[in-house]
Amino acid sequence: MNRTYELMFIVRPDMAEEDLDKLISTLETAVSTTGGTVKSVERMGKRRLAYTVRRFHDGMYILLTVEGGGAVIHELERRLRVTEPVIKFLSVRIDEEQKRLDKIKAIRDARKKTSAAPAAAPEGGETTPAAV
């Protein structure tokens, strides 16, 4: 089971930087113990929430890309639910969408290559009746 998930979560804005580092490292260890791998951790910084969540108007957004089975996500979600400073989280499976995008990209690239070749063929066809 090799699936790619994207886990976005919001922590409260007044959380200290060290605590956030600690939280992320504990999540990373949780991923590795459940048999997954962390592909990337992106801190999107503080931004305004579209609506108030637990009386907060701002939040620190963190994006975690994880590879592994459903057990990894299950464990991560459980941990995030328990962790008090995390005010919201969302996990999305992205590998299927990525596969679809790669397919479309491959088709478009193939079309670009073939579009150069047939352009010469109709010209040759037009010249023959003119000669007759």
Partner: protein, 117 residues
């Protein structure tokens, strides 16, 4: 001699064939041109431009919930998803768009409808 006449006939036919084909495309040409000119939309005085799907035109296939700037174009000020008939987005893209907007709402990137800030 008969063979020659046949050959002549064949040669005579071949030049005539392109000639006969020639006017046909020419005849077809004005027809599509006349088509749009024909229906003048009698009573309608304003011209409504044909709406096109932004995602098809700009070839955006990746409709992601993180792309707030893109999604915000299709969300009304009240937070509602703008219907297809107003934006012109095609059905497959509207489907992906609406799911992306819903995901973005869930993570507080976009507001829910009807919730006053």
């Amino acid at each position: 001699m008969a063979e020659e006449t046949r050959a002549q006939g064949a040669t005579a036919e071949t030049p005539s064939a392109p000639e006969s084909h020639g006017p046909r495309p020419g005849g077809r040409g004005p027809r599509p041109g006349g088509g749009p000119g024909g229906p003048r939309e009698g009573g309608r005085k304003y011209f409504r431009r044909k709406k096109v799907c932004k995602f098809c035109v700009e070839r955006i296939e990746n409709i992601n919930y993180k792309d707030v700037r893109l999604l915000a174009q299709f969300v009304a000020e009240s937070g509602k998803i703008v219907p297809r008939r107003l934006t012109g987005v095609c059905t497959p893209h509207q489907r992906r768009l609406s799911s992306a907007i819903k995901m973005a709402r869930n993570i507080a990137l976009l507001p829910f409808a009807g919730r006053a800030m």
